[in-house]
């Protein structure tokens, strides 16, 4: 498994998957605590019309048009959800359901009606990503990790996700106190003069940024799963937010690596000769971790006290 082909074929997807998972899990912690977990679901659906429009406008599948289109679609969706909620007095869940399904349907229609046969753009790609195809041909062995010439040809998704993760982590660290206060006690946060609406909007925008960056490389299944599963599992492990974040990062990396390895090598071990979808397997492993945490996690009960304490 760790043979010569490991570095060019498996190492980049493993790293990219882990980076994407952690970048989504960090804001996911706060979204889960604020009961906004499904924002991640909505964002990852509306990314599709965003990239289709970007493609139709620019005619290329370049990174920046796609990222800008996806980010714009995410912002439009958040604004629409808020507008429908306010104007119609509709509960947030239903408003979200209206907006993301409509935008996704518009994306599907645009995609079917326009000629995208020349490029690699379809719904399945958007859902599953292409983690397996992110290979590093210049990485000929472990030594290449120290070879600047080979490093220059890493898949571009890797540095992009590394930067995204750094930004997300920095934002989380810088705004730690206001985020924590406004998440656990919005009333108190308002009383001490924190701009709670702005903090909420900032959190959703950060989540959208992570989703858009991760989506291109790993597909929307991983994005949704990583927004919710690792933080939810971490929530069942501890009562302290700091520890919860650490658990969620651990779970995210564990899901990404185990899932990728199971998808790539599992079938071979079982005697089959084809791999299965890495994105799907990563989500499955994240679900198994959540299942274990729900069965055995020390803080799984609603009261929050560790069992037997």
């Amino acid at each position: 498994m760790f043979g010569a082909e490991f570095v060019p074929l498996s190492l980049p997807p493993l790293v990219i998957g882990s980076l994407a998972a952690v970048a989504c899990a960090l804001p996911g912690n706060f979204l889960v605590l604020r009961r906004q977990a499904l924002i991640g679901d909505a964002i990852s659906h509306v990314v599709l019309p965003g990239i289709v429009l970007a493609f139709l406008v620019t005619g290329s599948l370049g990174t920046w048009p796609m990222m800008i289109g996806a980010a714009a679609a995410a912002l439009v969706a958040v604004a629409l959800i808020e507008a429908i909620r306010r104007i119609g007095g509709i509960e947030p869940g239903a408003a979200m359901g209206v907006v993301f399904t409509t935008l996704f349907a518009a994306g599907v229609l645009l995609l079917e009606r326009s000629d995208t046969s020349s490029v690699h753009l379809d719904v399945e790609h958007a859902l599953m990503g292409s983690l397996e195809s992110l290979i590093w041909l210049d990485g000929t062995g472990w030594g290449s990790l120290f070879d600047p010439e080979a490093l220059a040809y890493l898949p571009p998704e890797l540095p992009r996700l590394a930067i995204t993760l750094t930004i997300v982590a920095l934002l989380t660290a810088i705004f730690w106190r206001p985020l924590k206060i406004s998440t656990f006690d919005p009333g108190f946060a308002q009383v001490i003069g924190l701009p709670t609406t702005l903090i909420g909007l900032g959190l959703v925008s950060t989540a959208a940024m992570a989703a858009v960056a991760a989506f291109d490389a790993v597909g929307s299944i991983i994005v949704i799963a990583m927004f919710i599963c690792p933080p939810a599992a971490a929530r069942l492990m501890t009562n302290r937010l700091e520890i919860q974040i650490l658990w969620s990062v651990l779970f995210a990396v564990l899901s990404a690596t185990t899932g990728y390895i199971l998808a790539g090598y599992g079938p071979l071990w079982l005697g089959a000769d084809n791999t299965v979808s890495a994105a799907g397997m990563i989500a499955t492993v994240a679900g198994l971790i959540l299942g274990l945490a729900a069965l055995f996690g020390p803080c799984r009960n609603r009261a929050g006290a560790p069992l037997g304490a």
Binding site: A94, V98, F104, A105, E112, M281, I282
Partner: protein
């Protein structure tokens, strides 16, 4: 071609599919109303995504048993089973752990969907799976549908519509007031479960047409749109059913009329169009109505303040107020009030003073709560009561002539 599609002239299968998706849309609209009123609209998202592993497993089982694997009824049964499992897990997670329902929904939908995708990639590598076309369950497809499949969908749609109509009473009760429903001897959790089963039935029947990613739209958009038009739950349910049916019919007909028209997306977009229409034009909660109300309110405020300014002989600078007073012949162009203007102003001032007096009198406490600076007191009190208040006004009383 388009006309043919809408008048059901495109052959037996297309007609069945169009009618079937109209029935399905109707059932989904009515059923979704109760989900929406119970504030659990997004549970349907978990249910629909959870069907994918069931579809794939059913295919694998049917192939292993030597069958075709593409039998729609078999695939539907499989999808129903895994949807039930997903729903059960959502409830387990919500009840027995500290996770909120939204986190449980998100976790189940992503994990089940991910596992379904894994199974799909397994199927794609199999010999029998090469033309399985199970991907069509993601986004729905009606092109090349078999007659038996179209018939199954039409019957399924009709049956779920019938079931929803039979169960609408208890579901309404539980949606509005679970405590009261339980006090009258209803088994709330059983009715909740029945609602979920209906949602699942709609999802399973709709998988082939609308696809599992977009089927939630049929359960969410029609009720939200219908809610703009009425406050009566029966009316909302009926309207929602009608919106769903129209969307299903329009979407399916449009998609049959030309190639590369995705059925699911067109049905959802038809529903979204009706929703947008409701959002803008609803007489009570719509955007236009709100804008008109706002304009009327603004005019009332400007008129009142303008009249009070005339009465107190204060200068008026506000352009809109000046225009309104001028147009109604209350104020001349040089800023001097007309006789009519002076009379109206005196009346407005008197009204304001009456209100002030009213607020000091405890017996008028209820009326005082209705003060908004716009309503004439004459519209609220009887002449006798007005006389009583006038006795308290701070002005000369009993002066001999």
């Amino acid at each position: 071609m388009l006309l043919d599609a809408f008048t059901l002239g495109l052959g037996y299968n297309a007609t069945l599919v169009t009618l079937g998706s109209a029935l399905l849309g109707g059932a989904a609209g009515v059923c979704g109303t109760f989900l929406f009123l119970r504030k659990r609209a997004l549970v349907s998202d978990a249910i629909s995504h959870a069907t994918l592993p069931g579809v794939a497993l059913a295919f694998l089982v049917m192939v292993a048993l030597g069958g075709d694997g593409r039998n729609l009824i078999g695939l539907m049964a499989g999808s129903a089973l895994s949807a039930v499992l997903g729903l059960w897990l959502v409830q387990k997670l919500t009840r027995h752990t500290r996770l909120a329902e939204d986190a449980a929904i998100g976790a189940i939908l992503s994990v089940f969907f991910g596992f379904g995708i894994v199974l799909l990639t397994v199927i794609q590598t199999m010999e029998a799976g090469k033309q399985a076309g199970l991907e069509s369950f993601l986004l729905g497809a009606t092109a090349g549908m078999l007659k038996s499949e179209a018939l199954t969908i039409a019957i399924g749609g009709a049956m779920s519509l019938l079931a929803v109509l039979l169960l609408r009473r208890p579901m309404t009760m539980v949606a509005f007031d679970p405590e009261y429903a339980s006090a009258t001897g209803m088994n709330v959790s059983r009715i909740d479960m029945l609602t979920m089963m209906l949602v699942m039935a709609v999802t399973v029947v709709g998988l082939k047409i609308v696809g599992l990613i977009l089927i939630v739209a049929l359960l969410i958009i029609p009720p939200v749109a219908a809610r703009f038009w009425s406050d009566n739950s029966d009316t909302v349910a009926l309207l929602s059913g009608a919106i769903g049916a129209v969307a299903g019919y329009t979407g399916a007909a449009l998609s049959a009329s030309a190639p590369s028209m995705p059925t699911g997306a067109l049905i959802v977009l038809s529903a979204a169009l009706l929703f947008t229409f409701s959002l803008i034009l609803s007489p009570r909660r719509g955007l236009v109505a709100a804008a008109l109300r706002q304009l009327k309110y603004r005019d009332q405020v400007h008129m009142r303040q303008g009249l009070l300014a005339i009465a107190l002989q204060q200068p008026i600078y506000e352009r809109l107020t000046l225009n309104m007073l001028g147009k109604q012949g209350l104020l001349r162009a040089d800023g001097v009030p007309t006789d009519l203007g002076r009379a109206r102003a005196a009346k407005a001032l008197l009204d304001e003073e009456r209100w002030r007096a009213l607020r000091t009198l405890p017996q008028f406490e209820a009326a005082a709560a209705r003060y908004d600076g716009l309503t004439d007191l004459e519209q609220i009190l009887t002449p006798d009561q007005l006389t009583e208040i006038d006795a308290h006004l701070n002005r000369p009383h009993g002066v001999p002539a």
